[in-house]
Point group: C2
Chain length 457, copies 2
């Protein structure tokens, strides 16, 4: 139970624990550190590192020496990881990397400069070096980068008994695994067997009789998001990764995939909020740089909407109430458009929205836009009419509202659908388009209707 | 590879496949259906069901009879699931439910009326009934609801050999499992062993010697989101679920947890977009009902912002340019506030933002707000100054912009933090507060400054 551990009931590190660690760092007390930190899970060490100051982090890693589990570095922000790794001598990293599973080693190495990478790899034993190099040669965010190159593979003619004996005797097995693979002499993948299947089978049975076809072997070049989708779709725990010749090169495991799923869901959320690849540890300058492009695009669009208002400056001078009410029409369109857009972007990401239901969803959204438009229009019409003692103004804003909510519904679903069809990421740019459309249409309909109705042209 | 299967390269069901199925349904051709659909994975059948019309879905399930795998119903929207289940006789559901893993059975049963539930449970064999009833008695969205009640448990004094022999002979084992549990005679949990550990150990060794402490046993009443966090934090593949007396009652597996992680990430995204628990299969009326509350709250807030503009109607009548420019100030504040808010809400959800870094993040956000405010203010000041040939107006909008971006940064981080501290879900209501604050402050600063500067009070 975490309640008994280093976290309090809300999942935050306990201050007492943090104090013990920081005073041990200040006292340079290696023994206490090893006792307190050495027993923690890698993700707990990661949380600890994130709670420490940059100087304390480095001191902790240096004081603990070989007792520090480098796997913890895969659990922290990229900026923190780079900060620690860059300050350590390459020889020490090379030493530490050898203790890691290959996927964790690659995760740490892939962000380093080419030069540091080469220097560290050069200090590794031959097989280790070849394995890591091969993973690193695959594209970023591919299955080949995320795979573990340690796995158990046996020939098809082995019996279950032979296989079990081999696993009992070989000390070079991966730390943990949930299936074994069956391969031919040239490492071509023939099938896979889950461990529970092996345990349930008599010793005399040949593995080829109980292996299942590996329908879901993952090409090493496959994008990690695509691979994660395979895991979700088929409830996989691990999957073979194969090269272009269908040879087994590694295994992708669910724990790495869970991280990918989290990252991808986070990405959509951030994109919709107009935020790029930023991390909590980023500086003011880095954060500003990552956010300003979206703000600039929005600024241009805001001027576009303003110029629409500018068309009606004479009308506004005549009836100031229009200036007071117009942001309501535009804003409510933006809100309704965001609702539809959010649902659409998410459904596209989970592949729940496709040609088989797009027609029905478009019709539904138009229906919802019309219905909600009518509800909001009656309310807004009444309030505005009484506020400015002008039933005409109430009627005009009500009509403008229905129009804008219909347009918002259409824009909310069509913009992401069209962006997706054009091969763009709908999460990145939908918001700007949708709010610009609802602003422009909102201002134009409301001010235009008023100009025409009150005969101000 | 999916490319060879029922999906095209973009992951959408192939039209040829769908046509074969629908014509088989029309021909009431049971043999073809069983051949085409019977071989599919449950999630593929789920995608197929979602692509069919409601009548075709029912016809498919009825035609396939016992060849239809009810697990597929766990892969579709709740509305579709209920539609199918409600139209089938309870006796048939009782029959089908017996074939399922307990977690899938609970998933299908939990949404039914109490009455139907009881009737179906009454038709099940005693042990099955007791097991499902126990799961259903745990709260919604708890680990107890998601757990599988089938598991392998052995006494501590058994040897590895005995355990393997037991697994080879017992036909009542779960369909698949990745660890076995060690329990005392009263079912109290003593430890767990991963299967690879068993396979690597000599037959004579006792299981109590190789079992590991189950530090991460999950109480059955724990919220599923909390349980998912444990899985992520400790890279678990499966975990024991225990009742209030520490007795083993089930096992939670990573594939169910992956679904929970997806749902929770989706929830945050939807909440931020102002959307509740809606599904693609919902009707116009249901969708409208789920979205209108958020729109109504926004409407009230929009009137609040409008009334701020109303304070300055005399000023606007004098200088119409203010009405043209004011939505830019308010809108850009809203955009910048959304950026900060999105990052904050996400960091709170992943527990990356806590007391140890909140101070630093608040300072960073203020820095970013100031920096981006200055950049945008210079641009907007220049453009507005030239547009209306008034350097004064350019200066006023620039100052208002800096103020509003600072306020946006503060609101973007403080609103979710305070909501979280107050025990509310920051994703649900942050957006309304933040945009209201940036609207009100944007309008007030810009119009107020202009009124004061041009001496219009």
């Amino acid at each position: 139970m975490i309640e008994d551990g280093i976290y309090d009931e809300t999942g935050v590190l306990r201050a007492e624990f943090l104090n013990r660690v920081t005073s041990a760092i200040n006292d340079r007390d290696k023994a206490v550190l090893t006792e307190e930190v050495g027993v923690l899970h890698q993700s707990e060490v990661g949380d600890l590192l994130e709670a420490l100051s940059p100087e304390q982090r480095l001191a902790l890693v240096e004081l603990m020496g070989s007792a520090f589990d480098f796997t913890a570095l895969t659990e922290v922000d990229e900026a923190i990881r780079l900060d620690i790794v860059d300050s350590l001598p390459n020889a020490q990293i090379a030493q530490a990397v050898q203790e890691l599973d290959s996927d964790d080693a690659v995760y740490i190495l892939e962000d380093l400069d080419q030069e540091d990478q080469d220097e560290i790899l050069a200090q590794l034993p031959f097989t280790e070096r070849i394995r890591l190099r091969r993973s690193l040669d695959y594209p970023e965010e591919s299955a080949g980068r995320r795979m573990q190159t340690e796995f158990v593979a046996v020939p098809p003619f082995w019996t279950v008994g032979q296989t079990i004996d081999y696993m009992r005797e070989d000390s070079n097995l991966p730390d943990s695994f949930s299936q074994i693979f069956v391969i031919d002499p040239s490492f071509r993948l023939l099938g896979a067997i889950d461990l529970d299947r092996i345990l349930r089978t008599q010793r005399a049975v040949k593995v080829e009789e109980i292996m299942h076809e590996t329908r879901h072997a993952i090409p090493a070049t496959m994008d990690q998001e695509e691979a994660a989708h395979e895991f979700e779709q088929y409830d996989l725990l691990s999957a073979a990764v194969v090269d272009e010749n269908e040879r087994l090169v590694g295994v992708l495991t669910i724990d790495d995939v869970v991280d990918v799923i989290q990252e991808e869901a986070e990405e959509d959320l951030m994109r919709l909020g107009g935020v790029g690849d930023e991390e909590l540890s980023d500086t003011v300058l880095a954060t500003s740089r990552s956010r300003i492009p979206w703000l600039l695009i929005n600024l241009v669009m805001a001027f576009l909407a303003a110029s629409v208002i500018g068309l009606f400056d004479a009308t506004i001078q005549e009836i100031v109430a229009l200036a007071i009410l117009m942001p309501i029409v535009a804003g409510m369109g933006g809100n309704a458009g965001s609702q539809t857009m959010t649902v659409t972007v998410r459904a596209l990401a989970t592949r729940d929205l496709d040609i088989y239901n797009a027609g029905r969803i478009i019709r539904r959204e138009i229906g919802v836009g019309l219905l909600n438009g009518l509800i909001l229009a009656s309310l807004i019409g009444l309030v505005a009419g009484f506020w400015f003692s002008s039933p005409d103004l109430g009627g005009i804003i009500a009509v403008a509202m229905v129009v804008n909510l219909l347009v918002a519904a259409l824009a909310g679903i069509m913009v992401p659908l069209l962006l997706d069809k054009a091969g763009a990421d709908p999460a990145v740019s939908s918001a700007v388009f949708v709010t610009t459309i609802t602003d422009v249409v909102g201002f134009f309909t409301f001010l235009g209707l008023a100009t025409w109705w009150f005969g101000l042209i």
